[in-house]
Structure formats: C-alpha cells, structure tokens
C-alpha cells in the first residue's frame, strides 16, 4: 500500500538510523533482564505446576532463583535510569520523547487501522448501506490505512506500557525485596497489595510481550522471522516510505527546503562572484 510517492531526494536503499547504538544497548539490556525476571518470577505464580518441583529439586536452587531475580531487577533499574538520563540529557533523546508523546491522532490511527483492516464499513458502503453517514463522515469509511509518523500508535502503546509496567514493578518489587522497610512504612494490607500487583502486572507484561510485541516485530508476515532494526538499528528509505510515510515526507520536505536554500545561496554566490570577478582581475596587474 503505497500512499506516498517516492521522493527523488531520498534513496530507496538509503540507510536511516532508527535505533542508535545506545538505544539498541538499552533494548538489549531490557530484553535480557526481562527474560531472567520472567523465568525466575513465574515459578512463584505457577507454583502448582509439578515441573517446578523438579526444577527446584537441587539444593539451594530456590535461593539462587531469588538471587538471579534480584540481580536482574537491579539490571532493570539500571536500564531504566540509563534510559531516563539519555532521554533527558541528549538532543536525540529529547526528540524521541517528543515523537513518542501520545496524541489524539494515535487514537484515530488505531481506529482507522482496525477499520481499514476489517473493511466492514467499505462492505456496507458497497452494498449501499449508510450512504448519508459515510458522505458526512468519510473517516468512518476507512478507505485507506493510516499514515504513521516516526512512531506509530503500535510503538507508542508498547513504549508507554513498558514505562508504566517498569515503574509499577520496580516500586512493588523494591518493597517486596525489603519487607522490613515496607512494613516500617505501610501496614501489612498495603504490603499484600504490592505482592498482588507485582504478580498481576507481571502476567500483563508477559502476555503483552507474547501478543503485541511478538506479532508486531516478529510474527507478522512482513517481518517474519524478525525485524532486524534492534540489531543493526537501520531502516531503508523504502521501509521508511511504506511504514512511516509522514516521517518520510518530513525528511523529504526538509531536504527539499535545504536544497532550495542551497540553490538560492549558490545563485546568490554565483551572482556575487560574477560581480566581483572583474574587480579582482583589474586589481591584479
């Protein structure tokens, strides 16, 4: 679905940095600690499964599970702090945050994307149903797929879900780690809520990763078996045009205006030179 024309100023194979090295390292760190946290945390929720009796049969294995879980938690906190710092203190980070801000357009995009894929409105329209409504509100016809900016609603949703989830997990997990501190500050029933929330949020995070993330960067037919952006950080001009057309257009317009400015500057320079050259030649002899 090509909705934006090719720009003569952007090469189809031109490489754009989608994820900087720092961003890829942060993603890698979260990937590793997330897997560790799930592997060492899930047995506590699924303790009724017989397999865990076998997994934890070696002596001290349950204790080691706890050590790994807390070490990975420290890793997650470190990654979160690193990400917060790089977002706040680098210009690229600040631009990322700006591009990541949720907008009304994202809700529209989500609805449009769903409606376009289902194609139900078009089906109704084809059969002459709701003609007046669709004439007055063409958006609800979902004639085209939404055009995405640098971050689509899919990516924004996942990013903010991760931010929200990480904060919940770090907060509740910290007080589960330091029971003494928790109970010095809160009554037992609040501490019980930390335990409850930690478990449910973990399930939510795991299921979200297994559905949303798995499909959108691995299992969808376009990227299967996986998008390589998290490894090389690159996206080609063609991919940008197809997946993030509004960003593509922005880059095109930026280059176009820069080119025009250059041409104008070049013409101006040429004009100045043309005027000044005779003077120089006069002076020299």
């Amino acid at each position: 679905m090509e909705q934006i024309r090719r720009s003569p100023l952007i090469g189809e194979d031109e490489a754009f940095v989608r994820m900087s090295l720092v961003e890829r390292l942060q993603h890698g760190a979260v990937l590793v600690v997330f897997v560790l946290l799930i592997l060492t945390g899930l047995p506590l929720l699924l303790h009724r499964l017989k397999i865990f009796k076998w997994v934890f049969s070696p002596e001290k294995s349950f204790y080691i599970r706890g050590l790994i879980h807390r070490a990975a938690a420290v890793g997650l906190i470190a990654a979160a702090v690193w990400h917060a710092a790089s977002t706040a203190f680098t210009s690229r980070g600040r631009r990322n945050l700006k591009d990541m801000r949720p907008r009304v357009k994202d809700v529209r995009d989500a609805v449009q994307s769903l409606g376009f894929n289902l194609g139900f409105s078009r089906y109704l329209h084809r059969h002459g149903l709701g003609k007046n409504f669709f004439e007055r509100h063409p958006f609800w016809l979902f004639k085209t797929a939404p055009l995405f900016e640098r971050y689509s609603f899919i990516e924004k949703f996942e990013y903010w879900a991760l931010v929200w989830g990480t904060m919940i997990m770090i907060l509740s997990g910290f007080f589960m780690w330091r029971v003494d501190l928790s109970l010095r500050l809160f009554p037992l029933w609040v501490h019980n809520i930390f335990i409850l929330v930690h478990g449910y949020e973990a399930v939510l995070a795991l299921l979200a990763i297994l559905t949303w993330h798995m499909y959108n960067v691995h299992l969808n037919p376009e990227d299967f078996p996986m998008s390589k952006v998290w490894l090389n950080g690159k996206m080609t001009g063609r991919e940008l045009r197809l997946r993030h057309p509004l960003e593509y257009r922005r880059i095109h317009e930026g280059r176009l205006s820069r080119k025009r400015a250059e041409t104008r500057a070049g013409e101006a320079l040429a004009g100045r030179q043309a005027r000044s050259r005779p003077k120089k030649s006069q002076k020299r002899p």
Binding site: H47, L188, V197, T211
Partner: protein
C-alpha cells in the same frame, strides 16, 4: 544339652548363690547323673511373681484369646542359664541390646499389620542413633515405649503407646515438652479425652522419629505444613471442632508456602508463628500470634517488625475476606489483562485479515 558351670556362676542367679535345683525343682533328690535330658519347664513365677503376672495379661501371653501359636516366654528375652541383670551390658535386655533381642521375632516373623519396614524404621530414628552410635542408654529402646512384661496392643486403651497414654509415655523422658503440650489447645482437648487431637506420634511419626533438623523428618521446616494440614484442611474435623480450613492452601500460595515447598527451609512454616507443642489460640495473650505478640513473632525473621505487621491478614482464603482495596485492585487487573490482551489479539487478527485480503485482491 550341657550347661557350663561358669555360665551359671557368672549369671545374675549364680552370683546370688542360686544353684541348679533352685530353678529345676525336679532335679531335687536326683542322684543318678547325667539326669534325664528333658526337664520340666522352669517356673520363674515362683520368685518373679509380678513380672510373670504382667506377662500373663500382655500381648505375649499364651492365655490371651486369639493368641498366636508362638508367644514370648521369659527365656525368649532373658535367656536361660546365662541370665544377667538388666543393667549388665552383656544382658539380652540391656538397653543397647534390647532392639536386637526383640527383632529376633519382630524383625521378620511377627510384624503386625504395618509390616516389617515399620518396625525396622526404628533403626533410622534419632532414638536408635543415640542408643546404637553413642551408647546413650537413656535413649528410648523398645521397652521404654512399649513396656517390658506388660506389653499390650497399640489399640488397647491400656497400652503405653495407645493414643490415650502416649503423651505420658513420651513425657517420661520429654517432661518439659509434655508440660508445654498439655497447656496448649491440643493438650487441653487431650486431657478432656479428645481422641482426634494430635498426639506426639501424629506429628513426629512412631518408630522413625528424626531430629527436626533432619530433612527427612516429618517435622522438618519444609514438611511441617503437610503434617498440620492433615487435620487443618479436613472439612469434617473443622466442622466438628469449629476451626477454619484451607490453612495449607492459603499458606501454600503465600511466599512462605511457595518457598517452603521448593525446599527453602529458612522461611516461616506453621510452627514458626504458631509454636509447636504448646500451640494456643490467637485469643490467648500467651499465643505468639496474639495481636500483642505478632510484632515480636514476625520480628524473629523480619528485624524491626513493628505494629504494621498486625494491620492486615494472613491466611486469606477469598478476595472478600482480604482488604477491600486489594479486592478492587484484583478486579481492576483482571479486567485490564482481559481487555488489553483481547484488544491486542483483535488488532493482530484484523491485521492478518487485512494482509490476506490484500493478497487476494492483487
């Protein structure tokens, strides 16, 4: 049969100056030696009236209705000419030797309805270890629990090891524990004749009693919950005695329970909070789970535990029973998970459908 004079001389009877005819009355007046091979059975009761009387009503008595063919006689345990005093290390009934003496019959031939293994298990016990390894003669041998001459069937209410008397039997050595037990809820019901209350052997097992620090023990930290829940997860008993069930279930789903199940011995088990021999109801000011004592009880592991430990519930069965805030959060999260994942799957399905249609149209 020939009898060495020295055997008799070194026996307890020989040392007391007894001669052959004191026991073998039928040799009195016999001048023609060697005498007849077969002599009359010696009647020990002539001197040992009390033990003989006891033996007559014991499980070893041949007069008992339904008695087996072979029963133990004086000689089976004490020997014959070489009988020695009980405190003589060479005696068959000396503490260190008694298990072997009893096992002559109860090792294989006479094993009861719980089998030879059940009896043999004694050799793995802490009692036998003390006896066999350290030679601690005070440690329980067979007769300390079962009695000696007056051994009765365990189901006989008069038996030393019957449910009604086992507490006093163990208490003969473990006096302090007996006192603690009798002051606790279990003990108080026991004194009133309650037959369902746990007695020593219900938690510690019978022959195979091990140290609580031994991982194979029934009362090892990670096994305690299983032992208590025998009764405390029992619907019938709970109705009869008015206690609440699902104690194990609610413990198992807590971190303490899960960690304990996976072999972590340092986490709290039932006994860590409730005590063991002298368990008291939470309403008792001396109970470790009385609200006034909770901070100290939890503080055993969670240093600095304060009043906050009492502001909330442990062993929560249902959401309604827990605090309302937790209930709201639980419902919120379940809804959130269901909605987020359903919407997520809906988008995925729509995307796949869209791609498929695009392929068809092309």
């Amino acid at each position: 049969m020939s009898v060495d004079g020295r055997t008799l001389e070194s026996s307890v009877h020989g040392q007391a100056g007894l001669g052959c005819i004191d026991c073998h009355a039928d040799l009195k007046g016999v001048k023609d030696f060697p005498h007849a091979e077969k002599l009359k059975r010696v009647d020990c009761a002539l001197c040992h009236a009390k033990p003989a009387q006891d033996l007559k009503v014991s499980i070893h008595s041949p007069d008992r209705p339904g008695a087996p063919v072979a029963v133990a006689t004086c000689a089976d345990c004490h020997g014959t000419h070489d009988i020695r005093a009980k405190n003589d290390p060479d005696s068959r009934v000396f503490a260190l030797n008694l298990p072997r003496t009893c096992e002559k019959c109860h090792g294989e031939r006479v094993v009861g309805d719980r089998g030879a293994e059940f009896i043999k298990n004694y050799e793995t016990s802490v009692h036998f270890r003390a006896l066999g390894k350290a030679g601690l003669t005070r440690s329980a041998d067979c007769s300390d629990c079962h009695g000696s001459h007056l051994i009765r069937n365990v189901h006989d209410a008069a038996s030393q090891v019957s449910r009604g008397r086992i507490i006093q039997t163990c208490g003969r050595c473990h006096a302090r524990i007996e006192r603690d037990y009798l002051e606790g809820v279990h003990g108080r019901d026991y004194v009133r004749g309650g037959m369902d209350v746990p007695v020593c052997t219900d938690c510690h097992s019978e022959h195979a009693i091990l140290s609580p620090r031994d991982a194979r023990s029934t009362v090892y930290a990670t096994n305690v919950a299983g032992v208590c829940s025998h009764c405390h997860d029992d619907e019938v008993l709970s109705k009869q005695y008015g206690f609440r069930t699902s104690r194990l279930k609610t413990f198992s789903s807590s971190f303490h329970g899960v960690a304990s199940k996976f072999g972590e011995a340092r986490v709290a088990n039932c006994a860590s909070c409730h005590g063991f021999h002298g368990i008291r109801p939470s309403s008792d000011p001396r109970s470790p789970i009385n609200a006034a004592n909770l901070a100290r009880t939890c503080g055993k592991c969670h240093a600095g535990a304060g009043r906050n430990f009492t502001r909330g519930k442990i062993h929560v069965v249902s959401a309604e029973e827990s605090n309302p805030a937790a209930n709201v959060i639980r419902v919120f999260y379940i809804l959130l998970i269901v909605v987020v994942i359903s919407v997520s799957l809906l988008f995925i399905a729509a995307d796949l459908w869209g791609r498929l249609r695009e392929r068809w149209n092309r």
